[in-house]
């Protein structure tokens, strides 16, 4: 089979059917069914060890699935060797060939496929990442950000049906990462390839991808647009891995007018039925910290707001853009509230008695055991970044 015939100007669909991957001693991917439409920017997001990199390696052909099929552009490539797949990878470590110059690195794939004018095309790709002036240097003479762009050019220049990005921005500092995110996104829309991006950085996934799949323990927990995942998480893991969430246990008492009435230890709250995965019995009510307001006096428990309280402020941390309050409500636990610093300094201080209010359409309902499935706090992004991303 001639790989060159599979290359087109545009990307191709990627389909994973019933993929399972076992390694000696553990299962990296439990079960995976996924369709990524051509031309989309798809992100696989999850903590380390969730199976996202394994998924990428299966698509690249660097690993063989224990079960299931990999289809690219409708063609089964499961048993195809990596060098015969119309796929290119931007590796986490960049994996630039140290014994070749930058231009030789970029032209490598073209030359293996005996594409005409390989060097000219490689220069063109280097211009795309604004690095044509370092074409004759060795990769080791470049900065991390430049190496990353060379790795990107080396992959993009082949116009693969599918471009795989394995945490390519992980080694860059924050400023450079932001810059590269924008560049990657513009390159993707410019060349129209299908991008599959693997990352543990929720902010990166949300900024760049059209569709994000959140992976945990070898499975996809939820798949959707970044907004959808953030505003309407369906599992405790998604709610806590993508930004922060306050999760409050309760019991559904009744359902009326599209609202569930839920009794919690901090008072009765109403949750929209279409934003809840359970409709009766025990439930976990979730709400994002930045969707909450603090009140010094108990607000009226009617209108379109849910009210929890009273509670006591146990911690105030000023982060610049916002202030994070931790409020201890008896029977509920600690609730986190991000308050925009619209006035100078913190309005409340430690020990104050407060009530918490938030709009009903911002709450979401999860399974009762959602609180057990939260993302490992060590793996979750730090609260400050999460707050900014919100």
């Amino acid at each position: 089979m001639n790989a060159a015939t599979d290359f087109g100007a545009a990307g191709a669909d990627l389909e994973l059917r019933g993929i399972r991957k076992e390694f000696p001693g553990f299962t990296a991917i439990e079960e995976l069914d996924l369709v990524i439409p051509a031309g989309s920017f798809f992100a696989l997001l999850g903590p380390s060890g969730c199976g996202k990199t394994t998924t990428l390696r299966l698509v690249a052909g660097l690993e063989q699935p224990s079960a299931g099929q990999v289809l690219i552009g409708g063609k089964d490539v499961t048993s195809l060797a990596p060098h015969k797949r119309p796929v290119n990878t931007v590796f986490q470590s960049y994996a630039l060939f140290p014994h070749m110059t930058v231009i030789e690195n970029v032209a490598f794939g073209l030359k293996r496929r005996k594409v005409a004018d390989a060097t000219a095309k490689a220069h063109e790709a280097l211009r795309l990442v604004e690095l044509d002036h370092v074409a004759d240097r060795r990769p080791t003479q470049l900065s991390g950000g430049q190496q990353q762009r060379v790795a990107l050019a080396r992959a993009v220049v082949n116009r693969p049906a599918l471009l795989l990005l394995d945490e390519p921005l992980g080694a860059l500092d924050l400023k450079l990462r932001r810059q590269m995110q924008v560049e990657l996104k513009s390159i993707q829309s410019e060349v129209g390839l299908t991008f599959l991006h693997v990352t543990h950085d929720q902010e990166e996934a949300m900024t760049m991808a059209d569709t994000v799949a959140v992976m945990n323990k070898g499975r996809i927990e939820q798949l959707g647009s970044p907004q959808e995942l953030y505003e309407r998480p369906r599992t405790g893991f998604v709610a806590t891995f993508l930004g922060q969430s306050n999760l409050v246990p309760g019991t559904v008492e009744s359902e009326a007018n599209g609202m569930l009435t839920v009794r919690t230890a901090g008072g009765v709250v109403l949750v929209p039925v279409d934003r809840s995965v359970v409709r009766s019995g025990r439930i976990t009510v979730g709400v994002r910290p930045e969707k909450l307001m603090l009140h010094a006096a108990e607000p009226a428990r009617d209108g379109d707001h849910n009210v929890l309280g009273p509670g006591r402020i146990t911690d105030v941390s000023f982060t610049g853009v916002s202030t994070q309050y931790l409020v201890e409500i008896p029977g509920v636990g600690t609730i986190s509230v991000f308050s925009q610093n619209l006035v100078y300094g913190a309005v409340f201080s430690e020990g104050d008695e407060v009530w918490i209010a938030g709009q009903r359409e911002h709450t979401f309902g999860l399974e009762a055991d959602a609180r057990d499935a939260v993302a490992d706090p060590d793996l979750a992004p730090d609260p400050v970044t999460a707050g900014e991303a919100a």
């Binding site: 690249a60 060797a81 060098h83 290119n88 060939f97 490598f108 293996r112």
Partner: protein, 306 residues
């Protein structure tokens, strides 16, 4: 190597700041034992050898010579022993190539293929070094036994008719090159292993991701990146093999028709005690090796990797 080691000491001691001067003194102190050793056991003998090579034999007196400047010594030894010279480099080259062809797959297997299987890897490494536990003289003698006319190899080859009754293995060029190859395989394998063990496997994955077949990945990525190991392995084999006088000697695997320059030097020094000629041969051998090695290292483009 001595020169590069000296450089930082010299630069440090010439520094103006007292801090740097102290650093330079410490470096010098650390280098002193090594430098003294080199001066005493390398530089002095080398100068002595150089002076001897221009010496004039006293007629009718066995093993006695006067210092002088008889450069014709060099002309004489080249005229008399150029076949042994050529043979030395030819045999050493063959042995180096064979040792590379045998050592590379071993080093690749241990250093790349089974890198993660620590136990097996260490076991195989010990096996590579294991021959060193026995003196190489004994091992070469053992090969002489195995390859001798009464030995199993010749008997079998006679029996199946691959060798005629008058054919031998020992005493031929084949057995000398065989012995050299055998003796230098560990010297080839270990530096190759050291390089291949550090080879970043992710580069191989990147190669296959960029449409290089396993064969292309090997020749375009693995091989060039293991060049430093190839250079040091071939040097560690070629240089001592050129001067080797054991394998080619008649008491071991060789015969008079396989004599290498090492055998000539040995007999000049120890049997015919013609010191000026022996010294001239030694200096000549050293000079030719230095020229060959520097051209080789320059050509392979690894002078910065050595």
């Amino acid at each position: 190597m001595a020169l590069t080691a000296l450089a930082p000491a010299g630069a440090g001691s010439s520094g103006a700041a007292p801090e740097r001067r102290r650093g330079g003194l410490i470096a010098l102190a650390l280098l002193t034992p090594g430098l003294a050793y080199l001066a005493l056991f390398f530089l002095v003998p080398f100068i002595s050898l150089l002076m001897t090579s221009f010496g004039i034999n006293v007629p009718d007196q066995y093993g006695v010579f006067d210092y002088g400047f008889r450069w014709e010594n060099y002309v004489d030894v080249i005229a008399a022993y150029w076949p042994q010279f050529l043979r030395s480099f030819w045999f050493a080259l063959l042995a180096t190539v064979f040792a590379l062809l045998i050592g590379y797959p071993i080093a690749y297997y241990i250093g790349v293929r089974i890198r993660e299987r620590t136990l097996l890897r260490n076991l195989l490494l010990v096996l590579v070094i294991a021959p060193f536990f026995i003196s190489f003289l004994l091992r070469t003698l053992a090969w002489k036994q195995i390859l001798s006319d009464e030995g199993p190899v010749v008997s079998v080859l006679h029996f199946i008719g691959l060798m005629g009754p008058q054919d031998h293995i020992t005493g031929t060029a084949f057995s000398v090159v065989f012995g050299l190859t055998y003796n230098f395989i560990p010297f080839m394998t270990l530096p190759l292993f050291a390089t291949l063990d550090r080879l970043d496997k992710r580069l191989l994955e990147a190669g296959s991701d960029l449409y290089a077949s396993p064969r292309q990945t090997f020749f375009r990525i693995t091989l060039p990146l293991s060049l430093p190991g190839i250079v040091s392995g071939t040097l560690l084999t070629f240089i001592p093999a050129t001067g080797d006088y054991v394998n080619a000697s008649q008491s071991f695997l060789g015969s008079s028709s396989t004599a290498m320059i090492g055998n000539v030097i040995q007999s000049k020094f120890l049997i015919t005690v013609n010191y000026p000629q022996a010294a001239a041969l030694s200096i000549l051998l050293m000079a030719v090796i230095v020229v060959i090695v520097s051209v080789y290292v320059r050509r392979s483009g690894t002078d910065d990797l050595l």
